[in-house]
């Protein structure tokens, strides 16, 4: 398998799921944000080291909704089915924004399927009393990107972008507050890395601080000079953090500037 992503389809009990896949090695499932699937630099980086599976949430990017799947909890069950049908065993999960919300539900409901979890600017953790999120294009753009000049052109046609917006409504994600999930995140047992941009106003810092406080084995890392779309604002930092965490887990807090030399000294032991 090369690091070039290919689109494919796999069947799960509720219907067919389109997905992108690339790479080889340990399985990593990537869950995309509300803007839909985009092969970002951090994702390409993951594919150079892992086998990446990136399902398209039904209803996004021109795909059909699945009957009976209309909530984040139901989507988490669908992703669990996808993992069973695709990788076929527990894997690492990386979720960005909406994907982080989904990844958190997956880890709560199906702990046996998630080895390491990365929640990048996870949606769903706004306080109940937070002001409503704006979806006006100019506000969105200002809040999503600290460095809009780094954002590659969006090749999705306008009607697909509009459909993605409707899909957000379909799953009831508009206010980005999920009280039930917030009450249950302490059930997440796997090693978890939470990433947050220092300029992110769509997910307030209090949301990720709450995750750090409640998830027993978690790390919170602020990515400096990044807004909500971390992967596009700071692709190198997000890519390096994610890869290092998935490779080394909890020990990623230890500076290892010469990992090869260290490994050789330890006789190749991890």
């Amino acid at each position: 398998m090369t690091s070039e992503f290919k689109r494919a389809t796999i069947g799960v009990p509720s219907g067919d799921v389109d997905y992108f896949t690339a790479g080889s090695g340990h399985d990593v499932v990537y869950l995309h944000p509300a803007a839909g699937m985009r092969i970002s630099e951090p994702l390409r980086r993951l594919a150079r080291r892992f086998r990446v599976w990136a399902p398209i949430v039904p209803g996004f990017d021109g795909t059909e909704f699945h009957e009976g799947v209309g909530s984040m909890q139901a989507l988490a069950d669908l992703v669990a089915d996808f993992i069973k049908a695709g990788p076929g065993k527990a894997c690492d999960v990386v979720g960005s924004s909406l994907g982080g919300w989904l990844g958190a539900w997956l880890a709560v409901k199906h702990p046996g399927l998630v080895e390491h979890l990365v929640l990048s600017a996870p949606a769903g953790f706004r306080p109940a009393d937070a002001a409503p999120l704006s979806f006006a294009p100019e506000v969105m753009r200002a809040q999503l990107y600290a460095h809009p000049e780094r954002v590659p052109p969006d090749d999705k046609p306008p009607e697909m972008r509009e459909a993605n917006g409707r899909a957000v409504g379909h799953y009831g994600l508009g206010n980005s507050h999920d009280g039930e999930l917030q009450a249950r995140v302490s059930e997440i047992t796997c090693q978890t890395l939470v990433l947050h941009g220092t300029l992110d106003v769509r997910v307030p810092a209090s949301g990720v601080q709450m995750l750090k406080q409640r998830i027993p084995h978690s790390q919170l890392v602020y990515v400096y000079d990044a807004a909500h779309s971390l992967e596009l604002d700071q692709p190198d930092r997000v890519g390096a953090l994610t890869e290092d965490f998935l490779v080394r887990g909890e020990s990623f807090i230890v500076n290892q500037t010469r990992p090869d030399a260290a490994q050789a000294e330890m006789g190749g032991a991890q």
Partner: protein, 382 residues
């Protein structure tokens, strides 16, 4: 009006320091330094007795200009011998240091002093970057990121990591945290338009630590106010600190002589090699791009030759009998509407006996006449 005292703790037992960088320490006499440190620390502690509101500690490297490469050490000594005065760190040169260390040390000082810390975040002057081998071009990016990280260290409720351009830490949770919540008042330099805006962004006290003239100082204050209003708040006089070399004596002649001779020594000896390093930095990097410090440095040499009377007129110094100093402060306040003054009590090789007498006169005869000025505090705009 609040008054802080600054004493740079210079090494004054040399007649010339040469014009190159670095300044040779071959003539440094350790035993003399022992005496100087005792004298200088005493002068700092004495400031509280004289009625100063704050005692300054600042960081400079590799020069007889100031023997305080780690201001926290001096602050720790001073705070143990004082009970009331604010410990004004003016301050750590943030881009040269590990920001976590700055956050930790400042938190320690705040706890050790029972909440008397003013946390100064300085970018420093060019020669410091040569001393610590940090690229001067990186000074502003490092400054911005380090300040953001330090504030995170003080305010995060849970352990966190930091992935930035200049600083990476995977797991941070400092002990102790500051006493003052959410964090101590911040002091930043406002010597340039860029730094004035940066200080306003952080609602920091802005120190104009070298006044060229009232117009220059007023422009910097206006830049700060403009940025504050953009951000929806109105700064009061308490946000502005003006720094001035000062000499008070029973007669104008004595004050003038001490200030003139001390200034001469400052420029001829203490500032010698520093100027060379500064020229190298500003000619080869963007350290001062778009800012006024280059012009300020050029003015230094002019300042040396400027008569004391003219320097008083420009607001560059306070000098004279206590009554004269009162008048100079009132005039300065009328021009700048500031609420804090940083009094540099030892200029060059000014005698230590004179420094103490000057401080005493200021405390007894100047403060009662001017402390009521600039009492309006900063308020948020609705």
């Amino acid at each position: 009006m609040r008054f802080s005292q600054t004493h740079h703790m210079p090494y004054t037992d040399i007649d010339e320091a040469g014009l190159g960088w670095p300044i040779s320490n071959s003539r440094f006499e350790p035993q003399r330094a022992v005496e100087m440190f005792r004298t200088y620390i005493h002068a700092k502690v004495y400031a509280e007795e004289c009625g100063f509101d704050a005692i300054g500690c600042n960081e400079h490297h590799m020069s007889p200009f100031g023997m305080m490469p780690n201001p926290s050490l001096v602050a720790a000594s001073v705070l143990e011998r004082t009970t009331r005065a604010e410990i004004q760190m003016s301050g750590s040169i943030v881009p040269l240091n590990n920001p976590i260390r700055v956050a930790e040390e400042y938190a320690m000082l705040d706890v050790m002093s029972g909440g008397r810390l003013m946390a100064g975040f300085m970018r420093g002057i060019p020669h410091e970057y040569v001393a610590y081998n940090v690229a001067p071009d990186d000074s502003w990016p490092r400054m911005r990121e380090a300040v953001a990280l330090i504030l995170k260290c003080w305010t995060e409720p849970e352990p966190f990591g930091w992935e930035g351009e200049h600083y990476q830490f995977r797991a941070v949770s400092i002990w102790p945290k500051p006493v003052q919540q959410p964090y101590p008042p911040i002091l930043m330099s406002g010597g340039s338009p860029t730094s004035a805006r940066f200080a306003a962004e952080h609602k920091a006290v802005m120190g104009i630590l070298r006044v060229l003239n009232f117009d220059q100082a007023r422009k910097l204050i206006d830049i700060y106010k403009g940025k504050a209003r953009e951000d929806g708040w109105e700064p009061g006089p308490d946000r502005f600190m003006v720094g001035v070399p000062t000499a008070a004596a029973e007669t104008f002649e004595e004050a003038k002589r001490e200030l003139r001779d001390g200034t001469q020594y400052f420029f001829d000896v203490l500032q010698g090699g520093i100027n060379r390093a500064q020229q190298l930095v500003v000619s080869q990097t963007r350290f001062n791009a778009n800012d006024t410090l280059i012009r300020a440095a050029n003015k230094d040499q002019q300042m040396k030759a400027t008569p004391v009377e003219e320097r008083i007129e420009n607001g560059q110094v306070l000098c004279g009998t206590p009554d004269m100093v009162v008048g100079q402060i009132q005039r300065m306040y009328a021009a700048l509407n500031h609420g804090q003054m940083n009094v540099i009590v030892k200029v060059g090789n000014m005698s230590d006996d004179f420094v103490l007498r000057s401080m005493k006169l200021i405390g007894e005869h100047v403060f009662p006449e001017v402390k009521h000025l600039g009492k309006t505090e900063t308020v948020a705009v609705e």
